[in-house]
Chain length 410, copies 2
């Protein structure tokens, strides 16, 4: 699929989603291929946030909890995210961070399977999920075992010792995508529960939590959902588990009557049980505005464009840069909305690219990642990025001291 | 201390802190006596937040983590709060919610006292602290006991069974203030650790965590620190406990090398160990701006004014409204920066007051609270509030159906 500039222009003209780009504020001279790490700024966020600060907080003050319904932001925003991940209204809330939500649902899962002690995950999972499981084990019982297998061995490793399978659908390094439906079915067939981390899924392609019969899910909102740096995360609890109380982080907002100020905790019987402290009003308001763009398209359309963009990218890079090894699956349905390559000098190569306006990122030890956010990327962006990558690699432009200096955040 | 309007005007003219009011945006026609629940909007926040959104996020995108040093916001903001609560640099970070921070340090304290099982607290503590202790007990071991005593009995209840004393310095209902130094000393004398919740202290009056030898502290930033609705909280760890690893919420940001993406958790040896997920960049940036006003005064000066305001308020209310019973200590050094009264019709009375621009709040079953934020309140505000309260009570203006309708948030 080698395309010249003219054909690319035609593709952009025919792109039914091209109009969505106008919903974003992007800097000049930048091709942003890191929306899988931090989504770009939706143009409406700034004014909405300014209103939340100056009018809601500034003018309504404490009354804002009622008159602007701040108190229900976790469920209001949660219900909008629910639609994007195939979940029913009332089953998903916005709260805290992904890590904290992992802890809440892992502890709940362990409690639901008291005779089992194994948390099964894979070595491609994002480390914080594994760390939270380790923290839970350390706190609760040495009998709990975090069993890690290679991503391709998860299905075979599901047996009747497993209490909960904790899997991130899309591998943060390679983009490799697990089969949610098949793995959940297998987990259930051995009596295990299924917890899905959707950090690299939500907003990128269709997710069907209900249809896949997932028990729990978590995810962040600052990647493909464009909620902003450090935006609050989300947590899903399948209807059949709503009645069980299992979240050990029993804060007042998870109480069934928070404003009764009882001394004893009694959990909400709704997903609100996964709430802990006072909701992050400003951050959730920003996220709520960011979600508006999804009212103008479908996840199916976004996925279709993402596949076109990434297939174009792969073919151009493979043709132009034989020294880069594809680290992502070649079947676009078996990867998320990112494409990764490995190169022993991945770190300085990425710094040189960023210096030239092609922003992706690096993941140790040798992965350079490029995310394709179909909401705001054009085919011309992809072609231009491929040209710049070729220049940098063919010309060894990355081999300069300043590109080797490690930043605090990579 | 009965004062007429002329004397009050003189007091405001002589008030050395009167100029601080210009740092806040307050609505016309409102006397805001609820800064103890949600602080008013500092005037600089909106522009700072707009810049963080449009320039930092919008233009720098993922590079913001390094170029705007987002990654260090928890410690940068934490160090500024540390100064306000008598803590050394590096011992306090901004993170998550108060409830979550309670869980982190309670679990750490329990681990530091493995032979003891009692968490001692009092019935005046804010319920979420108690709930988090209950959640920890439920998760970890039935042997853990949350022992609740009356606030005045805490000192006597400290014995060698107590692992950790968990106390909120200022009672959210009555404003009654515990003696941090004396109770911490008593706790240490029996080998217990001391955890202080500073939600109603930080930013209101001088706190001396280091001098009092507190082991841990937590608090929110949306009350007297004016960080905005749902602003992130803080957590303090005394230097002598920095080496111990105890936070069970082991997220990647608490790892000693988060960007190595190791599969195994290894805690930071710094207060950063109390970090969990990705920091809330926008909310912390807002809070950071809100803290600027504290560069223009001292906590000692703020406390002195708070005492003058609250003493004036009490004397005026007691003179004008004999049906309101003072629920706060009469000694201003034995209460925080709030004054509470009890009345069987507290709820509709407060609704009638809010309707007339005097904003305080109600706490079940019968408490009406008035907070005195000396950063933005004048003596004239206090006198005017007392006049309106008198009108409402003397005229039974609260006895209307609309004032009895309960809101979702009280």
């Amino acid at each position: 699929m080698e395309l010249d500039a003219v054909s690319i222009e035609q593709k952009d003209q025919q792109d039914q989603l091209a109009h969505l780009r106008q919903h974003f504020s992007l800097p000049e001279g930048v091709i942003y291929l890191d929306g899988n790490s931090l989504g770009a700024l939706p143009s409406n966020v700034s004014a909405v946030l300014q209103n939340a600060v100056e009018e809601q907080w500034g003018q309504s003050l404490i009354k804002g909890w009622n008159c602007h319904n701040w108190i229900d932001l976790p469920s209001r925003v949660g219900n909008r995210i629910a639609k994007l991940v195939g979940a029913d209204e009332g089953t998903l809330i916005c709260a805290d961070s992904t890590s904290l939500n992992v802890f809440k649902v892992l502890a709940t899962a362990i409690k639901l399977r008291p005779d089992r002690k194994v948390i099964l995950s894979d070595t491609g999972n994002f480390p914080t999920d594994l760390y939270m499981a380790q923290g839970l084990k350390e706190l609760v019982s040495d009998e709990i075992e975090l069993r890690l297998v290679a991503p391709e061995d998860v299905e075979d490793a599901l047996d009747e010792t497993v209490a909960v399978m904790m899997i991130t659908e899309v591998d943060y390094r390679t983009g490799r995508k697990h089969d949610m439906k098949a793995l959940t079915q297998k987990a259930h067939s051995v009596g295990a529960l299924a917890l899905w981390d959707l950090c690299h899924s939500a907003g990128a392609f269709p997710v069907h939590l209900k249809e896949a019969k997932a028990d729990f899910a978590v995810g962040c909102s600052y990647k493909y959902l464009n909620g902003g740096p450090g935006a609050p995360a989300f947590v899903y609890v399948a209807p059949k588990h709503q009645g069980s109380s299992g979240n050990p982080l029993t804060g007042w907002m998870g109480h069934n009557a928070p404003f009764a100020f009882d001394l004893g905790y009694a959990p909400s019987v709704k997903t609100d049980q996964m709430r802990v402290g006072t909701p992050q009003v400003l951050a959730m308001t920003a996220l709520n505005a960011a979600l508006d763009v999804f009212d103008h398209t479908t996840l199916e359309a976004l996925q279709a464009k993402s596949i076109e963009l990434s297939e174009l990218f792969i073919s151009e890079i493979q043709r132009r840069c034989p020294g880069l090894e594809l680290a992502s699956p070649t079947d676009p349905l078996k990867r998320g909305s990112q494409v990764s390559f490995s190169h022993e000098h991945g770190y300085p190569i990425m710094q040189a690219l960023i210096d030239r306006g092609v922003i992706g990122d690096f993941r140790a030890p040798n992965i350079i990642r490029f995310g394709f956010a179909p909401l705001y990327l054009s085919f011309a962006d992809v072609l231009k990025a491929a040209e710049i990558i070729e220049e940098v690699i063919a010309g060894n432009l990355w081999d300069k001291p300043q590109y080797h200096q490690k930043s605090k955040v990579t």
